[in-house]
Amino acid sequence: MVDFDVALVDWSRAQFALTAIYHWIFVPLTLGLSFIVAFMHTMYYKTGDEEWKNMTKFWMKLFGINFAIGVATGIILEFEFGTNWSNYSWFVGDIFGAPLAIEGILAFFLESTFIAVMFFGWERVSKKFHMLSSWFVAFGSNLSAFWILVANAWMQNPVGMQFNPDTVRNEMANFFDVALSPTAVFKFLHTVSQAYIIGSLFVIAVSAWFILRNRHILFARKSILIASVFGLLSSIFVAFTGDSSASDVAQTQPMKLAAMEALYDGEVNADMYTIGVLNKAEDNDNFTGIRIPGMLSILAFRDANAFVPGVNDLVNGNEEQNILSAEARIEKGKIAIKALADYKEAKKQNKNKLAAEKLLEFEANYEHFGYGYFNNKREIVPNVPLTFYSFHIMVGLGLLFILLFAWLLYASLKQKIIQNKFLLHISVWSILFGYIASELGWVVAEAGRQPWTIQDILPVSVSTSHLNVGSVQTTFFIFLGLFTILLIAEIKIMVTQIKIGPDEKGGSHV
């Protein structure tokens, strides 16, 4: 069977994970803060109140710092596709390229054009155009996120394409199936709405810090009020989109859902785990904690009596539930791989009849193609504890954020926020937990879908380029250094500007 270098695959994965995790420090703050700034800017435009102007300018300045440090860090991920993941890059063809190109051409230019107006436009362009430019930046950055997430969603649920055996590339058959698949839509909504939580927590954390230092009290109280409303709405929305995403995962990536809930043996009326710990046993008694009876079946299929397949059902098969075993899929996958090789050989020798037969054989087994690269049925199981804990910590924190925003809103409206030191201290630290939840969301999405680069079609192990491991290690450490320097620079500049605080005389901009 195809041999691959485990160290090369692992280092390539580690490098991609490192780059993505660092990139995701900057992105959610940009997405979330942009709307808060646009809202404040609109309030200034409508009221002409200098306090709104100060708020807009201060948060815009912090937005600008984050944007400047984070800009282009995502480009590195695209470099990695071409260098480290060339088999994958070739195999996905224009499906992956098209959304990324649209992102680059439309969204990025929209964003980058109006960001100049946003920062340089004070007293230089009309107030209306200036305010609108803030909204264009917010929508542009969210539009960028949409296309990137469409590309990611396609890897999780490959739809709307046709594999071309002559070019060995997937070709887009229906753009709208790719762009508007439920996986893409739910992923986008869930991801950007949790980014709005990050933006809200950031504003709250900085404002709470001001109040604890007895500085800019009015400014901070107003900022907390806006951020807690935005955060509360976003965190409730996140819960709904998370629910829809989990239901979509149940249909398209059942193994990921089984790993998220550490469900080994599938069952009807499956329980959902809440707070607790996993034991070592790989069965359904592996959890000590609180379970919600039937909740997983409802979450996955909107029916308490629905059967939710577990890890063992997907590995060993379940005839009653019409689930093919991994062994059967491995066998069919190997047939598909061999048929593809035979097809190419027959074409080369101009044996058109044989080529047509092999093509039919290949197409009949294509949905199992990726399984043909495995030799052991257990290879299709992701890291269950990692996926389980990441999912549950993320959900737990998400629910706590709803309570935090509601509490902050209540305290703001009752004008009790200044006295509540405990709430203010929690608020300062909340941004850290926001980032933990946000990054864990990506761990669930990406670690939970292992071993696939493209679900069921292409495993990670055959997606890599034949590179020297040393070169991947070298760039791994270069990135580690580069991103760490950028992060330190961001924190340092940001903290300096926060310490300076808003210019309440309505001063300068970035």
């Binding site: 069977m1 440090i69 260098t83 060339s86 002559d166 060995v168 061999k338 070298t474 500049i493």
Partner: protein, 67 residues
């Protein structure tokens, strides 16, 4: 056109010290990304080995189907 150029010139002229610092960081970062990382470390793997798409697809299929 002149107004747009002036808009940018005026904008850059009015930058505060942290704004200048950010632009320096952006420039250094872009230089590292596009002129060091891309040129020396992240050349497209298939482009460096093959001149045309047929050779690239033959190579990938060989990678995907070797037994």
């Amino acid at each position: 056109m002149k107004r747009i150029i002036n808009f940018y010139i005026e904008g850059f002229k009015s930058l505060q010290s942290h704004g200048i610092k950010l632009w320096i960081i952006i420039m250094i970062k872009l230089f590292i990304i596009f002129f060091i990382l891309k040129v020396f470390f992240f050349r497209d793997f298939l482009d460096t080995k093959f001149d045309n798409n047929t050779d690239k697809s033959n190579y990938v299929i060989e990678q995907l189907t070797k037994q």
